[in-house]
Each structure stands twice: as C-alpha cells, then as structure tokens.
C-alpha cells in the first residue's frame, strides 16, 4: 500500500520537475536578440547643436572649474603615439555604452577648444542597459582637425543588439588593442575595471577610464536640452559636463606643452598642477 502510494507520489514529483525544466527551456529557447533595440539612430548632429557648444566662451567654461567632475587622470609613462609630430589622443568606446555616452559631451566641449569636428553624429546609448537611451554624439566616421593634436576615436560597437552583444562598428588596430590590454588593466586601473570603456589614452602621458561625472543628470533629456542647459552655470549638467571638459582640457594641455595659450590658461594650468606626473 505504502509502496504503491510512494510510486504514485514519486511519479507526480517527477512530472512536476519535468514541467519546471520545460518552463526553463522555453524561457531560454524563445529568447530572441532580435526583439532588442534595433533602431540605429546615427544621424549627422544638427549644426544648431554643435553651435550651442562651440559658442560657449573659454571664460564661461573655465568659470565652472572642475564642477562636479570626479575624473582622475592617471599619469603614465607609455608609448608616444604622435602622428606627424602632433600628440595623439586615443579614445575607445562604444555607442551602446551609457558611460561613453556621458563622456562624449565633455570630450566634444574640450576637443572643440583645440580644433573642430565635421560629420559628428548624434546617437544614444542602449535602451536596455543602465542609464538607458542617454542622448549623445557618436565619433563614428567623424573627422577632427586641429593644429595641435590628433584625435583617434574608435567606436567599437553600435547600439544595435546582435547575438549576445552589439554589432561591431570599428575594430581596433593591433596597436590600439595592445594599448588597451596594457593600460586598461591593473596596476593602472582596478581589476574590477579592467577592459572597461570608455578608455582614453593621452599620448603616453595620461589615461582616463569611465565617465567623469554621473550620467544621472542626462537622463530623460534630449540632446538639444542637454546642449541648451550648458549655458546655465548652476545646472547639474553644466557642472558635470563643463567641469569634466576642464579636466580633459588640462590633460590635453599637458600633452601639447600648453598650446594654445588661449585655451591653456592659468586656470587650466591650475587644474593641470593638481594632476601629478
């Protein structure tokens, strides 16, 4: 009697376990990456957006100081990657990455003080990652010209889901990959942060990884709203973006021997002096 009952109970138990395994299999099998964010939205940044950044005066940007930026450039002694005698600034990031999206704002502000961009795109970070859909620029297929520096951006991935990641945009050269493998790893960055993006290499003198300020202030804002906020000194966006731009400017000034003097002012040199090398 007990044996019969035991067999019956065991049969029901095994059926229940089978049903549970079936549910797991369904959850795994029906997972379709194609349901993810497929809307590539790279398009040329409107000139009004670029203008709202380039019209910011040096004195206004400098009046922010370091704002709310948490950027800590790491001094290094690495290979000089100058091109035609100009210090080369390498950026490695990806369009899906919300922290890269955050960092591109101060990067564009700082870099436009030394030169100018053309074909700069607008895009957004992944809609399924943390800080979803952060509006930003994309350096993919953009051109940067400057009498002082060379800027080499590598946007490795798009924001379009593919398989377990995102579709590839640019493949780093062996030199770029080697720099990332060496300097985006301990002892230069914490082991938990190894290989993380954004990664910036300032011609063998400094490196920076991660976003320089919190992406929170950019949430639920359009690119135009972010750009227009930059004129308000007290806006958290201004404090983050322009504060970080000043630190980036100081780092760039350190590789250009403080050229041009109109950008590498005593205020910027003051920030530079706080970065030990």
């Amino acid at each position: 009697m007990a044996k019969k009952s035991s067999n019956r109970n065991l049969k029901y138990s095994l059926l229940a376990i089978g049903a549970v395994i079936l549910v797991f299999l369904i959850l795994i099998i029906v997972r379709s990456p194609t349901t993810q964010n497929l809307n590539a939205s790279d398009s040329l940044a409107p000139s009004s957006l670029i203008n709202s950044i380039t019209k910011l005066t040096n004195s206004f940007i400098q009046s922010i100081g370091t704002g709310t930026s948490t950027a800590k450039p790491i001094p290094i002694t690495g290979p000089n990657i100058s091109i035609n005698g100009k210090p080369n600034i390498l950026y490695m990031g990806a369009e899906y990455c919300p922290y890269c999206a955050t960092e591109r704002w101060p990067m564009v502000v700082a870099l436009t003080r030394f030169g100018s961009f053309s074909n700069l795109k607008i895009t957004h970070s992944s809609t399924t990652d943390v800080y979803p859909d952060t509006q930003t620029f994309s350096f993919y297929k953009s051109t940067y010209t400057s009498p002082y520096i060379v800027f080499t951006p590598v946007e490795m991935y798009s924001n379009i889901a593919q398989g377990s990641g995102y579709s590839t945009l640019q493949t780093p050269t062996s030199q770029q990959q080697s720099l990332m493998n060496t300097y985006d790893a301990p002892p230069y960055v914490p082991s938990a942060n190894a290989g993380a993006i954004p990664f910036m290499y300032f011609n063998g003198k400094y490196l920076l990884t991660g976003a320089s300020y919190s992406p929170t202030s950019l949430q639920n804002k359009t690119a135009a709203q972010i750009a227009s906020a930059l004129t308000n000194k007290n806006d958290p966006i201004t404090q983050g973006v322009l504060g970080s731009a000043n630190i980036l400017t100081a780092v760039i000034c350190s590789v250009t021997n403080n050229q041009p003097s109109t950008v590498c002012t005593p205020t910027i040199k003051g920030i530079e002096s706080t970065m030990s090398n």
Binding site: N9, L10, L27, V130, A161, A196, S214
Partner: protein, 162 residues
Amino acid sequence: MEKETTNTQNKFERKHKVRIISGIGILLSIIGLADTTYLTIAHYTTKVILACPSTGIINCQKVTSSTYSEIHGIPAAVLGLIFFSVMLIYQLPMMWSTTNKFIRNTRVLYSIAGLVSVFWFVYVELHKLDAICLYCTGVHILTFFLFVTTIIGTSIITAEKE
C-alpha cells in the same frame, strides 16, 4: 516479534532517508546563503564604477545595478538571503521527521514560490536585460534543486507515513 523487528527496521530506514533528504537540503541552503550573502554585501558595498565592462552577456554589474535588482526598494539579494535562511530551517531533520501537515505543505509551497521568483529573474535577465550574472545563476540553480529535493523528499516521507 517479527512485526516488532520489521517496525524497528522501518523506523531505522525512515530515519536514514530523513537524514539524506535533510542533509541535501541543508547543504543546498547553506551554499545559497553564502551566495546571497556575497550578493547582498556586493549590493551595499560595491563602489559604482562609471564604466561599461566589455564582456558580452556575462555582465553581473548590469544585472545587479538594474531597476529589476530591487523589489519595492528591497534588494533581490536580501530577499534571496531571507529565502535561504527560512529554507534552511525547513530542511532541518526535525522538520522533515515531523508529522505536522502544515509544515510539510508550507515547505512545498515555499519551494514553489522560490521557483516562481527564479522564473521571473531568468526572464528578466534573458529578455529584459540581455545579461546574465553568474552568482545569480548559482542562486537560481540552488533554488531549483531545493525544489527538487523538497518535492521528492515530501513524496517519499508522505508515502512512508501512509
């Protein structure tokens, strides 16, 4: 005399089975407790790194810092910690040898509740976040095996009593 010997033998066999079932349950619960303790500590102490790891779908930070990592403000890791703590009590030998139907039934229901929450978290990881956290997967596997142990154990113990 023969009946008495059979009864003693049955009691011994039953005790042995309870010990095995309880032992497996306790072991799984303790591993689950260790895993969720780690995840809870990580939740409260990990310095948020403002950078994107380029490690594909295995991305613990994306999972543990997502909006789904908290339920009504309570971190999922803490809920897991509570789940395994209560389950550990349910898996003790005295809880398996009791004839109390309430304990037996709530243990089964509790393991089912754990499993349902695992279904939800696996769905979120695979379909909403597109990322997997290996420590969380460990918790999911342990919860599944606790469910298996609980229902097989219950079916064996219940049949013995009938």
